[in-house]
């Protein structure tokens, strides 16, 4: 029961991170992509990446700990995996966005605007 509760906490954490990131990331993506529908598409991709990456890290952490371990230890491991997954996903989104921004700035039409 406790690991399931912690998995719920991880889901809430991922939703909170997405909520905190939505407005600034969407504004940055609109600046990078120029067209709004492209920015919305990449926002969806980023959100999916964050959710799936977090779930993957949490489940990997659960698998590494083992289901037969103490429930509290398992719960803490799931929590730790969720935090690590959120951090890694956030890093991946940031690196991708910065790289896209640099590529956009390097295009000749960007200077002409």
């Amino acid at each position: 029961m406790t690991p399931l509760l912690v998995a719920g906490v991880v889901v809430v954490g991922a939703a909170t991170v997405l909520r905190a990131l939505r407005t600034p990331l969407l504004a940055m993506l609109v600046e990078v992509c120029v067209v709004k529908h492209r920015a919305r598409f990449w926002w969806r991709v980023s959100a999916a990446e964050l959710v799936v990456g977090t779930a993957l890290c949490a489940s990997t952490s659960l698998a590494l700990t083992g289901l037969r371990a103490d429930p509290w230890l398992t719960a803490v491991a799931v929590l730790r995996g969720g935090c690590a997954g959120l951090l890694v996903s956030l890093l991946a989104i940031t690196v991708g966005t910065v790289a896209a921004g640099q590529a956009t700035a390097a295009t000749p039409w960007h200077d002409a605007e």
């Binding site: 954490g13 600034p24 990331l25 600046e31 509290w72 935090c83 951090l87 890093l91």
Partner: protein, 146 residues
Amino acid sequence: MVVAVFAGVAVAGLLASFGVERLLHAHLQRVLTDICETDARSGFFVAVSALTIVLSGALASTATTGYADPNAVGFDLLNGALTQTRIVMVGLLGVVLVVAFLLIGAIRRFEDRHRPFSVPPPGPMPPQHSQYSPAPTAPGHAGSTQ
């Protein structure tokens, strides 16, 4: 007892990471607004920095390294709590240092890009005797007036 102490230290660590983020937020926003040139970029990087600080604090708060014995009491329990607190502080210090170093790099790049004039690098000196400054002639030489 161990679980209660662990949970208490974890919550304290999470609150500490929120406190660090609150402490840095306004200053970070001001610096990033200067560096990033647009509000969208500065807002994005402020949000990413804030989330990184809080998540790193949360990750460090869940370290169970210090609690070797699940039924620990007294000094062992205190030792476990202190180890957990230490890991929280190392995590927060590490993430603040990473943010600071990234910021220093960004400020240097920004200043290089927006320097008003560039001083030419010191190159080789021009030859001492060029066509504009002929070599001094010795007395009695063809070039002299005597």
